[in-house]
């Protein structure tokens, strides 16, 4: 039996980031992860930490969301200083390309909206794209260029936060499965695990696809759609990309990593498909023609987490005390901010950023906003 101020379920980006900020705030932290760190969605994500890149259909990114992303990027920069490798934040800027007039028009609108929120970005034409990133083909007629956008290797971030959290006294336990939440009346008081019980005044569910089942155990419904995402990596090649282009990047070792498909309703999310491979390779090589002679080295697939309206689910659900939820799309970008927010909620009962749009209870009210859908999931 263990006790802690905060028990975190899930050893991915959100869990380890929360462990880090909570330990930093002096809380006694225990994190349980059912397999190895980053073995879920965090281990298969692309790794973009982006203020500007969204689906092609998105014309407007809500201000609160932009603020959340900006805060997160800023925390990443600070964490990079404080922790160092293997966090390895790389900030070469990003290019989000558009292939037709319709998408371009939406992109321009999006860009203006981001600028109004203080995000440094520019709407550029192909000539300008080519100056920044010569490898991009003219099928990109316009793009949003954001010089501060960054990327990471998600696993590296997870290990970095875990290492730093441990150094500050957090217990990070792997190969221990959280089987259910322990509650007394309307209060969650701990977690039952495969290695005994852990009692904590705050329990954080950050286990991705595992969150709905755990929450349901105390009567909380968490709507979460799942989809398969396929990712790909090439052999090491000479320097080709300086920035990253939508979801195509060159890693420090020289490999090109790109993806991702979004396939709802696919049963086996651990295997890749011929169709997915073909689709992604076609897209990547049309956009970056130099990839034609490059060899594909590996593919992998994993679960993508999709709250119905695209927004994150963050905070304390109503009706139950002692519980905090953190599950979302674009977790790579938002992880540090979420870790900070959850820590604030525990230590101060409130947080500086506006997280009202991310309350779980929003799903009970009116229909899911189509606009938000387009922003995050597009076509």
């Amino acid at each position: 039996m263990r006790t802690a101020d905060i028990c975190i379920i899930g050893g991915g980006l959100l869990g380890t980031a929360t462990a880090y900020y909570a330990a930093k705030a002096g809380l006694k932290v225990v994190l349980v992860e059912e397999r190895e760190l980053a073995s879920g969605t965090s281990g298969v994500a692309f790794g973009g930490v982006s203020l500007a890149i969204y689906s092609y259909a998105s014309a407007r990114v809500p201000k609160t969301y932009v603020e959340l992303s900006k805060a997160s990027l800023s925390l990443y920069q600070r964490a990079q200083q404080e922790i160092g490798p293997p966090l390895d934040l790389d900030a070469p800027g990003s290019i989000d390309p558009f292939y037709n007039e319709e998408d371009s028009a939406r992109g321009l609108e999006r860009c203006r909206g981001l600028q109004a929120c203080g995000v440094p970005c520019e709407f550029i034409d192909y000539k300008q794209i080519k100056e920044i990133e010569p490898a991009v083909a003219p099928i990109a007629i316009n793009a949003i260029y954001c010089p501060v956008d960054a990327h990471v290797t998600p696993m590296g971030v997870v290990w970095a936060f875990a290492k730093a959290a441990r150094q500050m006294g957090a217990e990070i336990l792997t190969n221990i499965r959280a089987t259910s939440l322990i509650s007394r009346g309307q209060r969650v008081v701990g977690v039952a695990t495969s290695a005994g019980e852990i009692f904590a005044s705050n329990v954080v569910c950050a286990s991705g696809s595992g969150v709905p089942a755990l929450a349901a155990g105390v009567g909380i419904q968490v709507p979460l759609d799942l989809a398969r995402g396929q990712m790909f990596v090439t052999e090491r090649i000479p320097p080709l990309l300086r920035t990253y282009v939508h979801n195509i990047k060159q890693t420090p070792s020289g490999t090109i990593v790109f993806g991702t498909t979004r396939e709802p309703g696919v049963k086996d999310t651990t295997v890749t498909s011929v169709e997915g491979t073909h689709k992604m390779l076609k897209w990547a090589s049309e956009l970056i023609p130099a990839l034609a002679n490059v060899k594909l080295l590996r593919s992998w697939a994993g679960l993508r987490l999709l709250p119905p309206d695209g927004y994150p689910i963050i905070g304390r659900p109503e009706g139950v005390d002692g519980l905090l939820l953190a599950v979302m799309h674009r977790g790579v970008t938002l992880a540090p901010a979420v870790g900070g927010i959850l820590t604030d909620l525990i230590t101060d009962g409130k947080t500086a950023l506006d997280i009202s749009p991310y309350r779980l209870e929003r799903f009970a009210s009116s229909a899911v906003g189509a606009e938000a859908q387009e922003t995050f999931y597009g076509t």
């Binding site: 070792s253 034609a292 594909l296």
Partner: protein, 455 residues
């Protein structure tokens, strides 16, 4: 080849996909087109190989060479061939992807001129180029003998053949070797050739260092104890310009693994194979296996397993009744059991011993592709890594072009040692397509005209 012939003769339409330019794999390697070699220079293996290749001309068999199977998805295999990616459908699949020399790291092993025994043999036998003017052959087991012969025939001078085991260790196993007279007479012939060529054989020794700056200039060998650990003070330097090492084989199980076939860890061979029944079936209906991927056993065993697998595949595809298949499988199944006993004895005698891994420390390069040293892997384990996958994710060992084939075994040995766990308890890492690297242009040149065949 054996499986294809057996299936074709049962009436099945067969398509054979081989990554190399000519069928024959490693056992029946042949020279490239254009070479003309005097008959005395060819081995008995060559004749057997030619005979089998001849049978591939069967009307039911379509042969595609330089055809790389890069993945199996649900109902088809994907093949990279002539710059295109083709779908191949079939009712049954036989995987017989063979084996490669077991990589063993030792100081200087990455120098140009340090080769595997198989690599040395291939260059000498198929290309008639000397891997070196004066070579050292080092390792354990009978494979060193035909390699030595191929090298001598290519006019290579062999300074010594260094064998880790000692003859007195073979005596307890004579019982299992009974009834294998053809193998003995082969070995005797090989040894006679070595004697005639004046090649000394040193038993109870191994290579401990390759010398040289830009390429091999010498080799240091040392006496070993029964666990193959070098005995300090027994080192000796030999001037050579190439070193071929042969410590057994690892199986190319990647395609079978990525297709979901269950694997088995073999304690004596200290590596993973594909699990199969006596009829060469795997746990996946319709997928059969044959040859070295079921266990290292030599060409005679592979031929029998091929025959069994071909018959089983034809039966699965509905071209043979169960009764007819059982009848025809009887003989090869019996042969297989007989040959397997011999193969097992060899594995026990010549299988890797702990001293083989004594150099996996400090600055020893373990992952050749990504240049990852043993100390980086050890640090990763000290930080909590418990699987080959974690080590790969953390250090990049296994993320290079060879996709872990060279370093995976050694990473496992380091894990087993540092965490004090059994090697077999470390799961074989999951394999995802492409099984080997394939250019984008090939993958995008999708030949939608699919080949639909029965096996």
């Amino acid at each position: 080849m054996s499986a294809a012939v057996a299936a074709a003769e049962s009436g099945a339409r067969v398509i054979v996909l081989d990554e190399y330019a000519k069928p024959g794999g490693q056992f029946f390697k042949r020279t490239g087109d254009g070479f003309s070699v005097a008959p005395e220079s060819l081995t008995r293996e060559h004749a057997r190989g030619e005979e089998l290749r001849g049978k591939l001309n069967h009307p039911n068999i379509t042969m595609l060479t330089r055809a790389l199977v890069w993945g199996r998805f649900d109902d088809r295999v994907m093949v990279a061939h002539e710059g295109c990616s083709k779908s191949v459908y079939g009712k049954a699949l036989v995987i017989a992807t063979g084996a490669y020399d077991r990589p063993v790291a030792f100081p200087g092993w990455t120098l140009p001129g340090v080769l595997t025994a198989g690599g040395a043999q291939t260059l000498a036998k198929s290309q008639w180029v000397k891997p070196g003017r004066r070579m050292l052959l080092a390792g354990a087991g009978p494979f060193l003998l035909p390699v030595a012969l191929s090298l001598l025939r290519a006019d290579v001078s062999i300074a010594a053949l260094v064998e880790a085991t000692r003859p007195n260790e073979w005596l307890p196993h004579l019982g299992s070797l009974w009834g294998q007279w053809p193998r003995f007479s082969e070995a005797w012939e090989y040894k006679a050739n070595l004697r005639r060529a004046g090649v000394p054989t040193l038993y109870g020794h191994k290579i401990v260092r390759a010398l040289g700056e830009e390429k091999v200039e010498g080799a240091v060998i040392a006496k070993v104890d029964n666990e193959w650990r070098a005995i300090p003070g027994s080192e000796r330097t030999i001037e050579v310009d190439a070193i071929a090492m042969g410590y057994g084989f690892l199986a190319n199980i990647e395609l079978a693994a990525s297709s979901g076939c269950e694997l088995r860890f073999d304690e004596r061979a200290r590596t993973w194979f594909v699990m199969c029944t006596p009829t060469m079936a795997t746990n996946k209906p319709g997928i059969f296996v044959a040859g070295e991927i079921t266990g290292i056993g030599g060409s005679a065993l592979a031929l029998e397993e091929g025959r069994i697998a071909g018959l089983s595949a034809a039966e699965f595809a509905g071209m043979l009744t169960a009764r007819a298949a059982d009848e025809q499988r009887g003989q090869p199944i019996w042969q297989r059991a007989h040959l397997d006993r011999f193969a097992s004895a060899l594995n026990v005698l010549f299988g890797p011993r702990p001293g083989l891994w004594e150099f996996l420390t400090d600055d020893m390069t373990v992952c050749r592709c990504e240049e990852v040293k043993a100390k980086e892997i050890a640090a990763c384990i000290a930080n909590g890594a418990t699987t080959t996958k974690s080590i790969k994710d953390w250090t990049r060992a296994g993320m290079g072009l060879c996709e872990g084939r060279i370093c995976r075994g050694m990473v496992g040995e380091i894990l087993a040692r540092d965490r004090d766990v059994a090697l077999g308890s470390i799961p074989f890492p999951s394999v995802r397509p492409p099984i080997k690297p394939v250019p984008f242009s090939t993958l995008l040149q999708d030949d939608s005209q699919s080949e639909s065949i029965a096996s």
